[in-house]
Amino acid sequence: MIFWEIAKRNIRIHMLRSTLAMLGIVIGVVAIASMGILGNSMVATVSESLKSVGDSVIVTPYSGGGGGMGPGGGGGGSSSASLKITDQNFQQIKRVAAPNVAIPVYSTSDHMKIGVGSDDIVATMYALPTDNVPDIMKLQAGDYNNGNSGCLVGSTFAKDHDLKVGSRISIGTNGSKGTLRVTGIIEERGMSFDISTDNALVVTPEWFENTYDRNKDYDEVVVKVKEGDTATVKTNIEKQLNKHKDNKVVSVTDSKATLASIYSTFGTVTTFVTAIGGISMIVAGVSIFNIMMMSVNERIKEIGIMRSIGTQKREVMSMFIYEAAIIGVIGSIIGGIFSVLAGYVVSALMLGTTKYLFTMANALSVGEGICFGIVICLACGIYPARQAANLNPIDALRHE
């Protein structure tokens, strides 16, 4: 169509001006889409780290505060030394949670030494029944059956201290609490709500009870929910153990609800940073509006001629809309391509990984950025186009 051709040629003869306007749109799309990619990649990274804990309910002694993460999540049990889950409470939890598995967990931190002459370090230790270990973690080396003086070590801990299956660790100051032999290395689990094993040791309950003089007074109970949903299990445990509002016994954390809350927070942060990127798009829109108004002002006489020889208002309008659309579509597509590159760089720099770059969520972010760029261009082209279409043909013809 002739108006499409005129729009194209007008862009071509004003190449520098059109290119600058396109550049604005490119920057706007890159800002929006790359922020979206960063947000999505952050969510994907955290999801990857937390995926193993999405089906857990964590029960900790009620401390009078807001509940939440127990000693496992905090990485140490010393702060809540006086608050424990009794065996009677554990049995109640076990009954309520059935047929799901309820795992009693001891936890503490202690001094230890690896090898002769090594530095004294402090690390977290968990103790849970050997039969239940596979319910929570997988091993990358060795065996679950760690015996009474055997232990499992987290992958990061093993790597940092050069531990292998068979290595020995002296527990307590100057080895006062005996020596443990590494029987297995735990696969990396990332962040978790139940127990964080990457930098910790896992020992048997028997060894723990003997060493730390504990007797079925647990620091937390982890329920692995395989049947039913975590929210129902959580409610049932609360109903059973916290019968009296003024005398609560346990705090119960539903890992799925906590995850949902984390994702929601990430979603809000992503929206916020994308909105900041949107400001640059608005600036680009103002630039498009400006060049379209210039284009209309430069072509008033031409518009007058068109109208006088029988061009309808909508046809004049379409010519300017086409111009805005060409700038918008080309600028937005180039912006979309660059935003993938920018997303790659930002993800690599800020998250240290680019493995979440080519996901559906990121494709949607790029698509949204491109669509937003095109919509902004069209929106900013409408007013100048209407101005052009509504010019009085006689006045336009007289214009010099």
Partner: protein, 223 residues
């Protein structure tokens, strides 16, 4: 035969802040099909207003204007635009070609507007041949043509939709005398072939080509 243009007691008043200005005051005349008419008058006499009304670019304050028997007073903008496209051909003093389009595209423009799609250039070539523009210039843009050549393209553009009327506003005003004469010869030729031509001009030389001259003075017809 029905007049191609009919003005019946037409009044045109421009309401201005300083007071209303009466540009045309109870004007009545008719133009028959095939006539060649010139409209003359001093500056500010109302010639341009008359041209705008004949070209359906404006509406009268009162009175009736009929183009090929169609009253334009009650027409909306879209209908007036279609009337201009289908029945009126404009030729301007400054040629007013589209700088982004080549000769063929300029001439085809009104035809594309009428058909709503791209059209075969055959008719444009035919009309350009009729206005005696050599084929070597068909792919040129207006800035690559002389004034006389540009005006020939403008005439071809005005003729492409076979209009009832050719409205010319000082068609030789921007040309040297020799080129102006050749353009007026072309107009005469077109008129001889049946075109109705109305020429607004200051130039008595141009008026000599016409069958009849309407003289406007102070918004009224003097003779």
């Amino acid at each position: 035969m029905e007049p191609v243009i009919q003005f019946e007691d037409v009044v045109k008043i421009y309401p201005l802040k300083a007071g209303d200005v009466t540009a045309l005051n109870h004007i009545s005349f008719e133009v028959e099909r095939g006539e060649f008419i010139s409209i003359m008058g001093p500056s500010g006499s109302g010639k341009s207003t008359l041209l705008n009304l004949m070209g359906c670019l404006d509406s009268p304050t009162s009175g009736g204007i009929f183009i090929s028997g169609i009253g334009i007073r009650a027409m909306n903008d879209m209908e007036l635009t279609n009337l201009r496209r289908d029945r009126i051909g404009f030729i301007f003093q400054y040629f007013n070609l589209f700088p982004l389009l080549n000769v063929i595209e300029n001439v085809n423009f009104p035809q594309i507007l009428k058909s709503g799609k791209d059209v075969n250039p055959d008719k444009a070539k035919e009309v350009l041949h009729a206005v005696q523009l050599e084929e070597q210039f068909y792919s040129h843009t207006p800035t690559e043509l002389s004034g006389g050549q540009q005006q020939r393209v403008a005439v071809a553009r005005a003729l492409i939709n076979d209009p009832d009327i050719l409205l010319c506003d000082e068609p030789t005003g921007n040309l040297d005398s020799k080129t102006g004469a050749s353009i007026m010869d072309l107009m005469t030729e077109l008129n001889r072939k049946g075109a109705t031509i109305i020429c607004v001009t200051h130039d008595p030389t141009v008026a000599k080509y016409s069958d009849r001259t309407i003289r406007i003075v102070d918004g009224g017809i003097a003779s």
